[in-house]
Amino acid sequence: MQTKLSVMSIALLGLAVSAQANASSTLDTVKARGQLICGVNTAAPGFSSVDSKGNWTGLDVDVCRAVAAATLGDAKKVKFVPLSSPQRFSALQAGEIDMLARNTSWTMTRDTTTGALFTAVSYYDGQGFLVPKRLNVKSAKQLNGATICVQSGTSSEKSLADFFNTNKMKFKTVVFDTTEATQAAFFSGRCQAYTTDMSDLAGARINSPKPADYEILPEVISKEPLAPAVRRGDDQWYSIVRWSLFALINAEELGITKANVDQKLAQDKRPDVQRLLGASEDMGKMLGLDKQWSYRIVKQVGNYGESFEANMGPNSKLGLPRGNNNLWTQGGLLYAPPIR
């Protein structure tokens, strides 16, 4: 009897002491692991999608690769974890991923209550509607009483309700778990409209059986700034991810591309260029990285403009215009703080 009691109490004590999660920094964890674990979308053309050979491409994918190049020295040392909308913040909170680059809209609720911290906007998007042309609808304000397909786990439902309430219109929703199911239901005619971010609508239209039969309505009913997110409580990691994205944008502003980075390093004597390429001051030290952190980003991934052109630009399958996602010097909203 004595041994039984003591064994049980020791077991319980062990369980009780077992633990608060270990608070080592994310940078150390990533370096020790030798690989960056990045949470991405299951299939978002232009942002993160995988081809039949297992190669990931997209804007979010490139942001992850930039962080890997800066911290680990190799843009290929990334493991991509596809996440559905309901899972994404839980995965980040639990430590299963180091950063979340999953075309996630930066909103106040998400920034404050989910334990995540958004770094910087990588894509300025908005929510819109996709309708079949035969409905003869020219504006979203004509959609009174419509049935609308929407995906659960996104900020779309709330913006949709707000828009319809403001304009005193009624609507019904059919809510699905996955993007594929939502789009299948819309294209089979179950709903009269499909709502999600404009970039997703463009991708959906391309993937539909008859793209010419559908059109995107002009109304943009909400602001959806897409930004990568990190866990709260690690300021250094937050700065690293943030400034990796800023490095991509600054590189485009300074005219440095993947092709000409070595030439610029040798010949361009502008102080901004020199600092970005690690030729003059050591800016990486302030992030806990080495001097070549931003040089590697441009050399291995390119700049923001190159990534945009390749993944979703006017010449790609998605065919999206730069619009708001152009540099501030070109009339867009991308304005990265200077690296100095």
């Binding site: 319980l12 009780a16 209550t113 786990g153 309700a161 778990d177 005619g189 179950r190």
Partner: protein, 393 residues
């Protein structure tokens, strides 16, 4: 065995036995109490750990969100809800949707399951084959795939919502669902019809209970109840007028609707569960001794009479516990609604998690709802079981 506690006079016989039993029971209680306290302590430690972790990461916790404005709409609901209603009301709407589809599917699955089970025991080879085919097909394909398939078929082949198939002016079938005519003041009509159906069914059963078996009497009562309910609906319609479905821009105004999502879930759950129920019914019938069949035959009863009056009532003892299990499986399987867009409690929970960010509390609520519904099923079926297995008076 000599009891050494009392040194004065060793206990023997009955007294010794009683003393030993008392000691044994005391020891049992002591250990059970220790384990119980440790379990409670463990659960408390877990809860405390979760709470502290949430606090440390700045994640909001607590159930205060239930009174916040929900700001989302759902596709269908038994109670009127809108994006201005609270999360609590939305969860209630989701729970009612779950109960509706589960209750309706349980009834149809049982009916279909009993029929198919009896088909497998038929003398006719074609009837037997159809029974086997039904069971093997629906039992072996995962429910998720079946739901996808049914939903695809329903949404592809139903007529477009702007060009519906009309059955007179009473019923409208389109991709937006099956819209049918209902009387005005539908909620009141439903309540009156339900109450009248209960009363009519009860009295009908009482009338027949002396004349046929208890099972037959119950079925006749059920049938009478349904007819009575429909009669009340008809009366309401004649008195207050009918609400007929009509196209009104993008939506259908008037009438009540069974959406494609509801129909898919109903059909999918019914066929899938009926396969298992058919096997349970077959097992129950085969467990009734062969002599019962022979004796009924000797008395000149037809096969149908034998099954209705002699075999089925005796098979109920074996059938009811697994049947309870199948009903609970059906209720839990209804959570797959989230895949095809039916707004049940899981779907509402998922949307709420996105909007207010508290995944843990929403999941706890969903689990509590399913636990509650399944406990009700368990209690009812246990009571039924007790009645059926009661020793003859």
């Amino acid at each position: 065995m000599i009891d050494l506690r009392s040194k004065n006079k060793p206990l023997i016989g009955d007294e010794s036995y009683r003393a030993r039993e008392a000691t044994r029971r005391r020891k049992e209680w002591f250990w059970q109490a220790i384990i119980f306290v440790l379990t409670i302590a463990l659960l408390y430690a877990f809860g405390q750990n979760i709470y502290e972790n949430l606090q440390a990461r700045d994640i909001r916790s607590g159930f205060a969100f239930l009174s916040d404005r929900s700001s989302f709409e759902i596709g269908e609901s038994l109670i009127p809800v809108s994006s201005n209603d609270s999360f609590g009301r939305m969860f209630l709407a989701g729970m009612l949707n779950t109960i509706l589809v589960a209750a309706v599917s349980i009834v149809t699955a049982t009916v279909l399951g009993v029929i198919v089970g009896l088909m497998r025991l038929s003398n006719h080879p074609l009837v037997r084959f159809l029974g086997v085919a039904h069971v093997e097909f629906y039992r072996n394909i995962p429910l998720l795939i079946q739901l996808f398939a049914v939903y695809l078929v329903i949404t592809e082949f139903l007529p477009d919502s702007f060009d519906p198939l009309m059955f007179g002016s009473l019923v409208m079938l389109s991709k937006a669902g099956l819209h049918f005519t209902v009387p005005h003041h539908l909620a009141l009509a439903n309540v009156c019809a339900f109450l009248f159906a209960l009363v009519a069914g009860y009295f009908c059963r009482r009338f027949y209970i002396q004349r046929v078996t208890s099972l037959m009497a119950t079925l006749l009562g059920l049938g009478a109840g349904v007819l009575a309910g429909l009669f009340i609906w008809f009366v309401f319609g004649c008195v207050f007028g009918w609400s007929q479905p009509k196209m009104d821009g993008f939506m259908v105004s008037g009438g009540a609707a069974a959406t494609p999502e509801f129909l898919t879930l109903w059909i999918g759950l019914t066929t899938f569960t009926s396969a298992s129920i058919a096997e349970i019914v077959r097992a129950g019938i085969l467990a009734v001794p062969q002599n019962q069949w022979r004796a009924s035959e000797a008395l000149g009863m037809t096969r149908l009479q034998t099954i209705s009056y002699v075999v089925l009532p005796q098979s109920l003892r074996l059938v009811i516990p697994p049947l309870a299990s199948q009903f609970m499986n059906l209720t839990k399987n209804s959570s797959l609604a989230v895949i095809i867009g039916y707004p049940d409690i899981v779907s509402v929970g998922n949307t709420s998690i996105v909007i207010m960010g508290q995944a843990l509390e929403a999941i706890v609520l969903i689990m509590a709802v399913y636990l509650f519904l399944n406990l009700i099923i368990a209690v009812v079926m246990n009571a039924l079981n007790a009645r059926v297995t009661a020793a003859p008076k």
